[in-house]
Assembly symmetry: C2
DNA sequence: TCACTTAGTGTACGGCTGTTCACTAGATAT
DNA sequence: ATATCTAGTGAACAGCCGTACACTAAGTGA
């Protein structure tokens, strides 16, 4: 995990011999420009945080010191890149939201026939969570973080995501006449169903040997369950009237 | 919040006069049996924890010392009643689950006409959350706690809740022919919709002056939104076939 | 009345936390 | 070649944490 080679030590080298290429097998450290070093450490900090998140550590328990340690850097060095853990979190929001939007884009562009729409969306969801587990773990976690700003930020992004989905839904013939509010309702229901699926997907493989309760479902079961839920919701659409 | 009157002090009374009824206006402390005292402090600890939870403090941030302080008791005294915060949490689970089941009972027993079923359930949900805010706050929080045992325990209880709802649903004529699995699916969808509603209800009033994002919706809006979601789901029911 | 039990006290300890500061070595600019 | 800049170091700080321990006052039972 450590990014930086030890550049100087408090204890002088035990052998008097120092200088480049002295030790057998020790190679000259690769020359890196200052900006390379900087950018690399910064990313190491972000990666360290994401890795811990993917390992089931919650953001709230993620201390500045733990992140620095996992990045192979001393705590004080953290401040060269971020003012606080909260600021690091906001960078992770951007990264993760990009992943989220890429999922929407992927679902949009393939010329999927309407009757395959739900199945295809669920497949994309599952594969995206598998391939970008760390980002989804962060999103899921941040959603219920104790950091108010972070929590509100991520929830707002999810609301935006639902809004985009709503305008996509508007293109379906059955939904042509629907009011904006009703489209938001439907999209919100779909999105919340996805979130439940994401939570389940994240729970299952990391805690495969969980001590308590039913063993985490396999991702195929979760996918099947999610697809059924969405189909059931979609079935109500043709009969929907806003006022009861 | 403090339950126990100061019973002795490290510093001797500044006046030499000690003994009962000495000071003007000081009344004799009410005699309490030992078991009364014990039970009272224990409840004060539980209440202190619940109060903090209702104030938006997450269980993870809730330290033994904070709880003890809020209960007006020294940290070491905590151990006379619970081995650890985790053990206290499990007691709160029992308390809270009782509240949850009382909600189901209330929804069951009133002779509600079928077409009012959803509206009535949502009303009961909203009023229950208002009246037992602390328990619901704990449930919502524990669901995503970092304590694995606690999290699994509460999720299992929610699964049980969904199962009971499923058997209730089975009594509806439209659902007579449904398989158990499909009933579980439907119940799960309803329950998750409720959880979303609970989260929203808990968010709104405590953080009425939230710094960021859209102001929390009023509970009536949340109720309306939730009712619509459930109605939409219910509309799909008559057309449902398990295999697509 | 007197010994026993027990709920709660006060103090102390080590461990982890965020933050600060003077310092250094390697990259950069003159 | 030399001076400047800067990413990272290591040591120190105060604060909160969980836990341990000896102690005390009040309630309890013989």
């Amino acid at each position: 995990m450590s990014v930086n080679r030890r550049t100087h030590s408090s204890r002088p080298s035990p052998t008097g011999k120092s200088g480049r290429g002295a030790g057998s097998g020790s190679r000259t450290p690769p020359r890196r420009s200052q900006s390379e070093r900087r950018q690399q450490t910064r990313q190491a900090l972000l990666d360290a945080a994401l890795d811990q998140l993917a390992d089931g550590i919650r953001f709230d328990q993620l201390s500045l010191r733990r992140v620095a340690r996992a990045a192979g850097v001393v705590p004080a060095a953290f401040y060269r890149h971020f003012d606080s853990m909260d600021e690091l979190a906001l960078v992770l929001v951007e990264e993760s939201v990009r992943t989220l939007r890429s999922m929407l884009r992927e679902a949009r562009e393939g010329g999927t026939p309407p009757e395959r729409m739900i199945a295809s969306s669920v497949e994309i969801l599952v594969s995206h969570v598998r391939e970008h587990r760390r980002h989804f773990a962060f999103i899921a976690d941040a959603r219920s973080s104790s950091n108010t700003v972070l929590r509100h930020t991520i929830r707002n992004e999810i609301r935006l995501f639902a809004s985009e989905l709503a305008t996509d839904l508007a293109r379906f013939p059955v939904l042509r006449e629907w009011s904006t509010a009703d489209l938001q309702l439907l999209a919100g229901l779909f999105v919340d169903t996805m979130i439940v699926a994401i939570d389940a997907l994240l729970e299952s493989p990391a805690s495969a040997l969980a001590v308590e309760g039913p063993p985490g479902q396999a991702s195929s079961e979760i996918a099947a369950q999610t697809e059924k839920r969405m189909r059931l919701i979609a079935l109500g659409v043709p009969n929907w009237r806003s006022r009861p």
